[in-house]
């Protein structure tokens, strides 16, 4: 029996009837037609299929499409600006050469976006632990960690600058 679901995918409401056993990753790829989310292990281990569900990272091979009903999903396709400007995490991955074959990259980027939302300026060990659910067969972990630390440092600097500006405004009064 089909299940009717309405899921907001990358800001657009999607409405479909799916088989109950449809996994979120299959739904995104085969029904919505977004192929950016990869399937690696299919056994909840590798993180290649990571997307955001209501803003938090999840492994979409281990979530039913039906469980996403009424919620919002962000995939790698939903990160860049409409004019093509890359998300800061995407830019950092590019700048720091944080990808080799690129297979793990969409999942890695989504896991990083979620991590930085919870912890905007993580330490190196927090980055490594925060990405424990994502495997890279090319083992390019060092550059991935560098990229995340670079975004974190910018976030820290911006927060510092804003705080600094606030303090200056305070002092000027």
């Amino acid at each position: 029996m089909g299940v009717k679901i309405v899921v907001e995918v990358n800001g657009t409401a999607q409405s479909h009837e799916v088989e109950a056993r449809t996994l979120l990753v299959q739904y995104l790829r085969d029904v919505v037609g977004l192929h950016g989310t990869n399937i690696g292990c299919d056994t909840s281990s590798c993180g290649a299929c990571t997307v955001l569900l209501d803003g938090e990272s999840v492994k979409s091979c281990t979530v039913l499409a039906a469980q996403a009903d009424g919620r919002s999903v962000t995939t790698i396709e939903g990160l860049a600006e409409p004019d093509g400007t890359l998300h800061p995490v995407q830019s950092a991955f590019r700048e720091h050469h944080a990808l080799q074959c690129g297979y793990c990259t969409p999942g890695m980027v989504m896991a990083v976006v979620s991590l930085l939302k919870e912890n905007p300026s993580p330490t190196e060990s927090e980055v490594r632990l925060g990405l424990e659910g994502n495997l890279c067969r090319c083992t390019g972990y060092h550059n991935i960690v560098k990229a995340v630390l670079a975004v974190g440092a910018t976030a820290g600097a911006t927060a510092g600058a804003t705080a600094g500006a606030g303090a200056a405004a305070e002092a000027g009064r």
């Binding site: 999840v58 281990t62 469980q67």
Partner: protein
């Protein structure tokens, strides 16, 4: 891998879940799905109907219950890990929740699902054993409570009766020393062996073990040795006494026995150090 076909129903209340469970003996509850869905993909579980508790937000909470902490069964691992109240009143539980799987798993998996599943390799069932938690369940015959020590009967087998839903986990305040020693090969992995140390309401250390038997278990020999005045080293050596640990790709029973002694010793030492610091 795609699970075998099943029907799906999202329920809005515990009563609705009980009614749906009671009407179909092959139905299963679905919480975070992070134990059940992998089993279904492997066809190791083939339920006829999944009753999704995801629509029962009233089961996700952490409350101060006076002498205990009350945690709703649908509270996710990440919420237990980050809750200030849990960190203050039962820091062991917050820490253990933070050691489960990886961030993606902790964003989905729930404390109730983990306990109801009763996997001997899981971290939270051993933690609730060591903490002497009480489980609140609701079923066709009303509400009852089960001491954690009476929940785990066999491999993935609990004393939950047909039609019953685990609704709340009550954790006694545990201000004393604690420790969780998890030994695994990669950060995201399950424990090859784990040891949980909590201070019992009596003030003595309770010791529970992960992946050392068909169920989560207390290290009874270590606990009685400590009660009889044995030193840490000596009591820890008895950690695997009377237990038949499993054999798998990661470890032989012999190696698991060795790990249990080492982890229990480290755990007891860390718990004692924390107790002294508090």
């Amino acid at each position: 891998m795609i699970p075998a076909a099943f029907e799906y129903r999202r329920v809005g209340s515990v009563a609705e879940a009980i009614a749906a469970l009671s009407a179909d003996e092959d139905a299963k509850l679905l919480a975070g799905g992070h134990s059940l869905l992998p089993l279904m993909k492997l066809r190791l579980a083939v339920p006829s109907l999944l009753i999704d508790l995801g629509g029962v937000p009233s089961l996700s909470y952490v409350r101060d219950g006076g002498d205990h902490l009350a945690i709703g069964a649908l509270t996710r691992h990440c919420d237990v890990e980050r809750s200030d109240l849990v960190r203050r009143s039962a820091p062991l539980l917050a820490y253990v929740a933070g050691q489960v799987g990886d961030p993606q798993v902790r964003h989905r998996g729930t404390i109730g699902g983990s306990i109801a599943h009763g996997d001997p390799a899981s971290d939270l069932p051993a933690a609730v054993l060591a903490l002497e938690a009480t489980l609140v369940v609701e079923g066709p015959d009303g509400e009852r409570t089960i001491p954690a020590g009476e929940l785990f009967l066999g491999f993935l087998e609990t004393s939950l009766r047909p039609g019953e839903v685990l609704t709340e986990i009550r954790v006694p305040r545990s201000p004393g020393g604690w420790s969780f020693q998890k030994f695994n090969r990669r950060a995201q992995d399950w424990a090859i062996v784990g040891a949980v140390i909590a201070t019992a309401p009596s003030g003595r250390p309770n010791v529970a073990l992960v992946n050392m038997a068909a169920t989560p278990v207390r290290a009874a020999a270590t606990e009685s040795a400590l009660a009889a005045g044995a030193g840490t080293e000596e009591a820890a050596r008895l950690a695997a006494d009377g237990l038949e640990p499993p054999s798998d790709l990661n470890a032989s029973p012999e190696y698991r026995r060795h790990l249990a002694s080492v982890l229990v010793r480290r755990g007891l030492e860390e718990a004692a150090a924390r107790d002294g610091a508090a």
